[in-house]
Symmetry: C2
Subunit: 218 residues, 2 copies
Amino acid sequence: MKPTRRIPAATISRLPLYLRELEELTAGGEDVVSSRVLSDLTRFTSEQIRKDLAYFGAFGRRGIGYSVRHLAASIRQILGIADEPELALVGAGRLGTALLRYLSRRHAGLAVGPVFDSDPKKAMGSVEGYTVLPADAITEEVQRRQIRLAAITVPAPAAAQVFAALVAGGVRAVLNFAPVKLQHPDVFVNNLDLATELQALAFYGQLREGKADEGAGA
Amino acid sequence: MKPTRRIPAATISRLPLYLRELEELTAGGEDVVSSRVLSDLTRFTSEQIRKDLAYFGAFGRRGIGYSVRHLAASIRQILGIADEPELALVGAGRLGTALLRYLSRRHAGLAVGPVFDSDPKKAMGSVEGYTVLPADAITEEVQRRQIRLAAITVPAPAAAQVFAALVAGGVRAVLNFAPVKLQHPDVFVNNLDLATELQALAFYGQLREGKADEGAGA
């Protein structure tokens, strides 16, 4: 189940949503789930679900359904969260702290790795129980711990430099909350600017009647 | 420039990104911008940009380009942020507070409206200078102030009830951070679960060589 680059980003973004439901089913004691039930739970069509899973091989049996635990384990493998990779966080402000808390409370399959901040008052202190390291240690620390994932929650002017330091250290995928479009040919970047998300939302707030369109983004 | 329901969600989600660059250009004293320059700035193709803008009428002149201010003003009109609509926020925790701070610092075209929290210790107190109202006032307050937009930053178990209260008050578009899929036939919901965003990110962190795919989501 080696990841390839041919899989649509939309498929990848749905896998965690399937996983979320499978984990709920596991917690509820369910052993088997049909694509129809998974469809009801996730609101994606059965066809969509079957098509998404088909990218990764054969799951489930016709007329029976999917083994809840097996499918959940497979999705964790596919996503690369089965062995809880570490995530580096840069920016220990409100948003960064919210993200830390979120990660430490939910079992998302990701471990909080090093936390960095350029503010000397924060660096070498601690946030939510995690030690905060100075931003100039990013490349070395990320390289030493072989970290591939990072989240950037710094203000816009600091984002490009932080990104370069992460990439130099070997980071391959970044969730960027700073309102700046970051990119690098060898790195996957999900630029998630909360202000632009809210502005797009405003568009739909104007619609007065009839059905609103379904979900933006992934 | 009345919004219709035929416009792809992906187009709507790109408009704020165009606007962000246009505002930078305005700040830099630029009067005119070509779709090529806008393409360099946003990393979307010129064709994509022209196609997106064509949904809303004729902008720009062949061989000259777009008037920066006119196009920015038009996009604000299209998105419905020209008159700074109010956004209701439910959940005055870390993430909610980060969002409040974000909105009050950046001129995103959205005004912070009422802030709610179900915690009696927070309700009737204040966060970031905004008064926090009790969650049971949601429907009445949202209705009274004719609020159409809301963000939900409460824990999962509270999300459905909060959502119902907002919808009952007339909210038409919701940015939901709670890890629960909320939906209603007359309401646009952008379900933005940060844990699932990070899990999808993990997939790309596994890719070892060659070019990573471009941006997930919008």
